[in-house]
């Protein structure tokens, strides 16, 4: 029998606010252990939470970017559980009335068809402390306790691991582009759990779901879900029942392992957080936040394809770095040569930025300068190779292309008469290639072109050189 995979994702994203969710402590990653703490995030007797307005703003911003509706009336709830990483032994989160509901992310399946993956809800909550297990005992670092998070819960709309990675990739790129999180999986600022079940293809009924935790990279996500699919299929085929449980992905053993069964499922005793008042959100505030959202990355991809005729792949490469996309767009518009703009930015300029560890915002030249370089090349006044030399100098010294061309005498020779004189001289000095050519060695013509280019130090228009050498070689 053929089985269909059904996946829902729960993604935790740390928000990049300057201060924690319920106190004024810094959210900076790292730092001396237990240096970003105060009575509130340590849950000292008598301390009360106060809500960071920026967290509400970022959550709403995320909701708008992910096509959600925003609940104008919302509140915080307590989730009660005892664990040493939770200083109050309850987490202040949202249970009954999350801030955002009913959104979606559009993904593409392997056939390139578009499909909407529904988002059930986005709610805000606080992160827990970090436990460090040592031989001498467990240490607790409270720096992370109280750092704001949003949890983005998808509907069980995902059908393949490919869709799952696409969904997560898009979620990550969208949230990064609106500046609410740096979404670094390796630092734990983006964490993903999955609910996985299988069902016979064509069936409408959902199977028993298994929760998979500790999926800490895109690679792990693919491997874990693939493994879990096969495990469940194998189990069902051999007549076993799938049990509702929580499993952990073990990166070393390449398999999922049982963490806790459903019987051990916790009762969190949710109830409204009485220390914080209800959250009422005005339409004006939502509209103000909407205005701060830039063009979203995947809208930009569509537009780049349409307006600049770049490939989907090129457009996606560009939006991974929003700065590059802007640089590209300006260059493409002014130069009317998007292909060249893309090649320069993703080619030599990217290479130089990587080599010298320079970010786009620190570049010494502007899109206009790149535009004039492209125009020099397009008009045949300089060659592509010379262009590379010029861009390297622009990168280091920040000079204008026209100044560098003038200073270094890079202008290309396009005079047919002059070039022909040079060709004739070179042929006279090197008669062998012509002989070889006449004896059937067709490649000798390329050798001659090389000699001519060398003589002109690369400044002769290569097309003219090519044409003229061909004419001379085939004269009689």
């Amino acid at each position: 029998m053929e089985y269909e995979l059904v996946i829902g994702l729960e993604v935790h994203v740390e928000l990049s606010t300057k201060t924690k969710m319920y106190c004024g402590c810094s959210t900076e990653f790292g730092g001396e252990p237990n240096s970003h703490v105060c009575p509130i995030c340590l849950a000292l007797p008598g301390a009360l939470p106060r809500i960071n307005k920026k967290v509400i703003e970022y959550t709403i911003k995320s909701g708008i970017a992910l096509n959600c509706s925003i609940n104008k009336k919302s509140r915080m709830d307590r989730k009660n559980y005892f664990y040493p990483d939770c200083p109050k032994n309850y987490q202040i989160t949202q249970h009954r009335f999350p801030l955002c509901r009913d959104g979606y992310i559009e993904v593409e399946n392997s056939e390139g068809e578009k499909k909407k993956i529904g988002i059930e809800r986005i709610h805000m909550e606080e992160d827990a402390a970090k436990l460090i297990h040592t031989k001498a005992g467990t240490l607790i670092n409270y720096n992370r306790a109280g750092v704001p998070l949003i949890e983005v819960v998808s509907k069980p709309d995902i059908r393949t691991t490919g869709e799952a990675t696409c969904y997560l990739q898009k979620l990550k790129n969208i949230l990064r582009s609106i500046g609410v999180s740096n979404c670094k999986m390796e630092q734990g600022s983006l964490r993903c759990d999955g609910n996985i079940s299988i069902r016979p293809k064509g069936s409408k009924k959902f199977g028993v779901k298994v929760e998979i935790k500790n999926v800490n990279s895109f690679k792990a996500l693919e491997k874990a879900f693939e493994y879990e699919y096969l495990r469940q299929v194998k189990a069902v085929e051999s007549g076993e029942k799938i049990i509702q449980e929580t499993r952990r992905w073990n990166e070393c053993k390449n398999k999922t392992e049982v963490m806790r069964a459903k019987e051990q499922a916790r009762d969190y005793r949710y109830f409204p957080e009485g220390d914080l008042t209800a959250i009422n959100i005005s339409n004006e505030w939502i509209e103000d936040i909407r205005k701060t959202i830039p063009e979203l990355p995947y809208d930009k991809v569509e537009r780049f394809i349409k307006e600049y005729n770049v490939s989907k792949h090129d457009a996606e490469v560009l939006i991974l770095n929003m700065g590059a996309a802007d640089f590209f767009e300006e260059t493409a518009k002014l130069s009317r040569n998007p292909k060249a703009a893309f090649n320069w930015i993703m080619g030599d300029i990217s290479r130089l930025m990587n080599e010298k560890s320079v970010s786009l915002s620190k570049l010494k030249f502007k899109p206009e300068d790149l535009v004039s370089l492209i125009k020099f090349i397009d008009s045949g006044m300089i060659s592509n190779n010379i262009g590379t030399e010029i861009i390297e100098e622009m990168f280091v010294s920040g000079g204008k292309p026209e100044e560098i061309i003038e200073k270094r005498n890079f202008l290309q020779n396009s005079s047919e008469d002059e070039i022909l004189q040079i060709i004739k001289k070179v042929m006279k000095d090197n008669p062998k290639p012509l002989e070889d050519y006449k004896n059937g060695k067709k490649r000798a013509i390329k050798f001659m072109i090389g000699l001519v280019m060398k003589k002109t130090k690369g400044k002769a228009n290569p097309k003219i050189v090519n044409d003229l050498v061909n004419r001379e070689f085939n004269k009689n």
């Binding site: 009575p39 340590l42 849950a43 000292l44 007797p45 008598g46 301390a47 009360l48 939470p49 106060r50 809500i51 307590r78 009660n80 005892f82 664990y83 040493p84 200083p87 109050k88 032994n89 309850y90 467990t138 607790i140 009762d267 005793r269 949710y270 109830f271 957080e273 009485g274 220390d275 914080l276 008042t277």
Partner: protein, 485 residues
């Protein structure tokens, strides 16, 4: 020697006495009487004297005197004062020193008040007799064989026995008003949201309110003035300007409409107390108030609602006392679960455990809707009924306690009869409205008090009615004779 803050202030202004002398005389009384009275769990002797000396220098230099200049104030041991213990009268927090000040403490110190110690209480503010203190008994200064009430028992004793001039307590279900009543002092629970709770150890977040005790209304109004008002550290405080209460003490209550809710005067109320309150009402009538009977039928559900909400919230609020970061930790344990289990089992008292277990049960899956959710709904109905009645009246009069102070040990075994002693004070916590208890008589040598309740944020009206009554009687001038030990 019973002195009020305003009397001390004029003595200081007239240079009849120094702050140091004031503080020393209160410390002496603590030395002399507190072994038997048990009002304090901690006395800040050196700190208070040092502060007194600094304030004397301020006088010398002619600097401005804050509203609470040189006044010795006791603080219930569940309100954080930087550098002092904050034990909540529990073994769980024995030896815990608070590294920060509650917002109310900052405000008191900004007005030059002097914190002289931390007052005894029922463990984590759960109790009505102060007998649940894990450390010591507190005795009623009027009769040492009787309880002072609770949970802010130590606060009431300290003011009643002149071991402090004023005191801060917490009132989650009458814990300021009931002991104030039993010890013959003034006790106010301000409107929920009027005074910041930041730094007061949470019992039930939606019911807790810091309250205060004093010998008379002028002092009460003055201290309220100092601590009230919005606080960015407590999101439940209301962003509303606090009126100048000294201006509301006019004694003019002519034409004021006062309601007597009949549900407060049914069976269970001691007849002699009923008579005292009727006499108090007569005084208010004589001063020009229009008094009428009224009814708040749903008030009888206050106790049920209160115990569901308070227990549910406390089960969560007390979860942080786990032996990990501070407080009591069991000597031996296998793993972190065992650490929680043993530390909490060994350090928390019976009453605290009873309520945590009740609350945990009531919040559990399948029970939440039946208990907590339903209690919130009934609470709203009770609120609505109070709000309706308050449209017709400026204030309501009610008893504070059904009996005078009971004997130590009398109700210790019977939780329900202990709970019933709070029946008249709970509704103000459930509705969130302000209420005060004012001394209004004596029965068998024990003080009796009555409550004045008003609409939200109308503490000014409370003060004026109370002041009008107080200035027409002498009950506030009574003070107990304590036999020296």
């Amino acid at each position: 020697m019973k002195l009020t803050a305003h009397e001390i202030r004029s003595m200081l202004k007239n240079k009849e006495i120094s702050v140091e002398e004031i503080v020393r005389s209160y410390l002496n009384r603590i030395d002399k009487f507190d072994t038997i009275l048990g009002a304090y769990l901690y006395v800040e002797k050196e700190g208070a004297l040092k502060r007194a000396k600094n304030l004397d220098k301020k006088i010398k230099h002619g600097e401005k005197m804050g509203r609470l200049f040189g006044i010795p104030i006791s603080i219930k041991d569940n309100i954080s004062v930087k550098g002092m213990q904050n034990s909540c009268a529990s073994k769980m927090l024995q030896g815990y020193i608070s590294p920060y000040d509650a917002s109310v403490i900052k405000r008191i110190e900004a007005e030059d008040g002097i914190i002289i110690g931390k007052a005894n209480m029922d463990e984590f503010a759960m109790g009505s007799s102060n007998e649940k203190s894990a450390f010591k008994l507190a005795r009623n200064p009027w009769d040492l064989s009787r309880v002072p009430g609770g949970s802010s028992g130590g606060s009431a004793v300290s003011v009643s026995a002149s071991e402090s001039v004023m005191s801060l307590g917490t009132d989650t279900g009458g814990s300021v008003r009931q002991p104030a009543c039993l010890c013959g002092v003034v006790g106010l629970k301000p409107t929920y949201g009027r005074v910041s709770r930041y730094g007061a150890v949470a019992f039930a977040s939606t019911l807790d309110q810091i309250g205060l005790m004093s010998s008379d209304i002028e002092d009460c109004a003055c201290l309220t003035q100092c601590i009230a008002g919005p606080d960015k550290n407590d999101f439940t405080t209301v962003d509303m300007k606090v009126p100048d209460y000294s201006r509301s003490l006019t004694k003019d209550i002519k034409g004021m409409k006062i309601g007597i809710p009949k549900e407060y005067f049914e069976d269970g109320l001691d007849d002699r107390i009923r008579k005292s309150i009727e006499e108090a009402v007569d005084v208010l009538k004589q001063n020009g108030a229009e008094v009428k009977e009224c009814s708040i039928p749903l008030v009888k559900y206050s106790m049920a609602v209160y115990y569901v909400i308070a227990s549910a919230e406390v089960s969560s609020n007390l979860a942080r006392f786990d032996g990990i970061r501070y407080g009591y930790r069991s000597k031996s344990f296998k793993d972190y679960r065992d650490l929680y289990f043993k530390s909490r089992s060994e350090a928390l008292g019976m009453e605290v455990k009873r309520r945590i277990m009740l609350g945990t049960y009531m919040l559990s899956k399948g029970y939440y809707d039946e208990y907590y959710e339903k209690a919130l709904k009934v609470r709203n109905l009770i609120k609505n009924q109070f709000e309706e009645v308050m449209k017709k009246f400026d204030a309501l009069i009610a008893p504070t306690s059904p009996t005078t102070a009971f004997k130590i040990g009398e109700k210790k075994k019977n939780a329900l009869s202990m709970y019933l002693s709070d029946v008249y004070v709970l509704p103000a916590n459930v509705s969130g409205m302000p209420a005060i208890s004012v001394p209004c008589g004596m029965v068998d040598g024990l003080p009796v008090g009555f409550q004045i309740m008003t609409n939200y944020y109308r503490e000014d009206t409370i003060f004026n009615i109370a002041y009008s009554f107080e200035q027409s009687t002498n009950w506030h001038k009574m003070s107990p004779q304590i036999s020296e030990v």
